[in-house]
Amino acid sequence: MFFSSRKRRAGITGCGVVSPVGNSLPAFWQALLDGRRGCAPIRRFDTTGMSVTWAAEIADPIPEHRLSAAERERLGRVDQYALAATREAIAAAALDLAAIDPTRVGVLLGTTLGGMEIGERYLAQTAGPRGGFDARALLHHPYYDVANRLARTLGVRGPVLSPSIACASGTEAIGIALDFVRLDRGDLFIVGGAEALSPFVVNGFNCLRATTADVVRPFDARRSGLLLGEGSAVVIVEALEHARQRGVTVAVEVAGTGMAGDATHMTAPARDGSGAARAMRMALRDAGTDSAAVDFVSAHGTGTVFNDAMECAAIAAVLGDRAGSVPVNSIKGAIGHTLAAAGSFEAIMCVMAMRSGLVPATLNCEQLDPACSLDVVMGAPRPHPVRCALSTSSAFAGNNAAVVLRNLTPASIGNRNDATDERHAV
């Protein structure tokens, strides 16, 4: 019964990135391998009075061929990030959208902030002297508008929605795309997450005391919290048969997806990691495999005391006897916590790990928490063939999501140049 309707399979045929460590897939990947830190003092807005004033902002310019001058002028930052990442993914997938039935193309893009900057400006002007704010801009404030605006720009006519399970939205979006391909709701989907930081969210995580005055240290014994990040990560999830028909070789399959709720607390994860573990097991079952096949785990790894302890328990429970021998990493030390985009960034990192045979190190994890029994990759990228990757995300409100990615090509080890060459990017 579980797989009765699963006739169609899906793969990732393109990736695009606008990140705090580089605004293209090659730049992003190289930065992860080099251990570049994207976190710095916030420059975009006034941080006076904030308890923590660091975050991972988009610092480098977005290439002009991915965003026109008019689009820079007209679009909010979150829309710019999403559009630029999408265009890179479309180019990498060798897609000509004009040649495809638009009713078979969809957009599944998560965001927790959307056009928050617009809302902030509106509220500030209603609290103070009026003037200079065009209220019609509020049409771009609701969360759904990021995906909808992208769909309008691209002329998409298939399913368009914005998964909204906070920091696990990017992972859920990939899972929904897999289901939609299986159920023949479309042939390809532009999938990912996008966020643009603003005072709203920095103040929020600060008031929860979830942010750190140190660097982000996932799974380190000294970890003391997260730093926020921004950007957009987009993948093209396409039916394998559709990709084949247009002559594209698919390197990575989206093999399975799972979701589960903790049902315990609104802002803290279930301490035993049971919800995250159930989501991971569901994803593996959905992929028709089990934990014995997993040879890499991309963790949520926020660097908070509770999240990382929960994840250690959850991943250890899923991997069982192999917990100490399967590489695990977190990239939040490099790009911060990019909220709804986090799962999409991590999926792209998994794709590149499969392509290159290199697992990026967990930046700033230097003294592994003694309570963590996992094989956390530290210090330097590790040559390691990745055939089956498990990527997990957790969020406020007790949401957990996981995806299983499967390498469809012979796995290589340490082929750095190949993996960082954009022509070979999936």
Binding site: M50, A127, R152, I165, P199, N203, A263
Partner: protein, 403 residues
């Protein structure tokens, strides 16, 4: 593909049950009234007067006070849906029970409340209690805690069609075997900040719009939440639950030209056609359409798509526009129309007032009053519910009566 509806929880401006909503709608009642006390003179809205708490689990009631309005709407609707379905959640495998909520505006009202304090007092004014509800998934999180639901837990934005999209996603989850039971629906909340923002955008109507007749931008905002219990037919049969209706198919898509002057219907046409294909039936077998019409320029677009869909059908369907009575409840609207369709098919109302509530979309591009409405309702076995958002989203669900 199918899932059965075994229960419904309704929190609406026209009553808090399917039966009451259907009865009052059929009598021609309207919940649209002038809003008071907000400084928006002459503006109209459809507001939920009291959010019922009778079905909320006792252990959760002490938490209700800290919840925001949308969370309370969803919690009340979900709790009522479970009671209505006769589902014993304690006896269920909680990992096989899921939640899928759709919302148009989500937590934006809470965001505003939270950020107004930051503007007022600086970063020190940021409230951790309010910030916890500045994710749209907060409502589903609270419902999962209150009801002990540990399966798939999803919230989605799909414009103002998010409630129907959530119901469709729930059907997918059941079909794919990811859950046996899913609580699904849509909701949105009204508040002074939203009314002010709509007014500042020039989008508040100040006279009651007539669907398919008026064509000015703007809306009469409404609010509410509807959660239905969806089950696989096998699961419902095993516990001897009596279905209220059956979801036969759904489809979703997008029309990128809705914000333009020259609006097209290609995306909507595909959605309507695919929903029927998923349900494996011709348009002529679907006798009722619950439309999104609300006296805006989009009414003509929807009418054109329906006209094309039914062009070859032997008879035009009865077309209802529930927003004429309930206002535009954002993501709640589609879910309200969904249960209203079920109510109209399950217990077809006989009052003569029902005759004035349905129209037919004529082949010659006009829209005319429908005739023999009560008789045709009594014969109807299927309905199509269509949600259309100004920003492009279109979702259609085909619903069969249980009889």
């Amino acid at each position: 593909m199918s899932a059965v509806v075994t229960g419904a929880g309704v929190v609406s401006p026209l009553g808090h049950s399917v039966a009451e909503l259907t009865r009052r709608f059929a009598l021609g009642e309207s919940a649209i009234l002038p809003v008071t006390g907000t400084g928006r003179e002459g503006a109209l809205a459809a507001v939920v007067a009291d959010i019922p708490q009778d079905a909320i689990p006792a252990g959760t009631l002490r938490r209700v006070g800290r919840m925001d309005r949308i969370t309370r709407l969803f919690l009340a609707a979900a709790s009522r849906a479970v009671v209505d379905s006769g589902l014993d959640l304690q006896a269920e495998n909680s990992e096989r029970v899921g939640l899928v909520f759709g919302t148009g505006l989500g937590c934006l009202l809470t965001n505003a409340a939270y950020f107004e304090k930051v503007i007022e007092s600086g970063p020190a004014g940021a409230s951790p209690q309010l910030f916890a509800y500045t994710v749209s998934s907060a409502a589903a999180g609270e419902v999962s805690i209150a009801l002990g639901i540990r399966g798939v837990n999803a919230t989605m934005h799909a414009g103002l069609a998010a409630g129907l999209q959530a119901i469709g996603r729930a059907v997918d989850l059941i079909h794919l075997g990811r859950a046996d039971v899913v609580l699904a629906g849509g909701g949105d909340a009204l508040g002074p900040t939203l009314l002010q923002a709509l007014d500042d955008m020039g989008l508040l109507k100040r006279s009651v719009p007539v669907p398919f007749e008026d064509a000015a931008p703007g809306l009469v905002p409404g609010e509410g939440a509807v959660v239905v219990v969806l089950e696989s037919p096998q699961h419902a049969a095993a516990r001897q639950a009596r279905p209220l209706a059956r979801v036969a198919g759904y489809a979703s898509g997008f029309e990128p030209t809705l914000a333009e002057r020259q609006r097209q219907t290609t995306g909507i046409d595909a959605v309507l056609r695919r929903a029927l294909a998923a349900a494996a039936r011709p348009a002529g077998d679907v006798g009722i359409v619950m439309s999104s019409a609300h006296g805006t320029p989009l009414d003509a677009v929807e009418a054109a798509a329906l006209r094309r869909l039914y062009a070859a059908a032997p008879a035009a369907p009865l077309v209802f526009a529930p927003k004429r009575a309930l206002g535009d409840g954002f993501a709640a609207s589609g879910a309200l129309a969904f249960v209203l369709a079920a109510g109209l098919m399950t217990n077809p109302p006989r009052p003569r007032s029902i005759d004035a509530l349905a129209v037919e979309i004529a082949a010659d591009s006009g829209v005319r009053p429908a005739t023999r409405v009560a008789d045709r309702l009594a014969r109807a076995r299927s309905a199509m519910i269509h949600g259309l958002c100004y920003s492009g989203t279109s979702v259609a669900v085909v619903l069969d009566s249980a009889g």
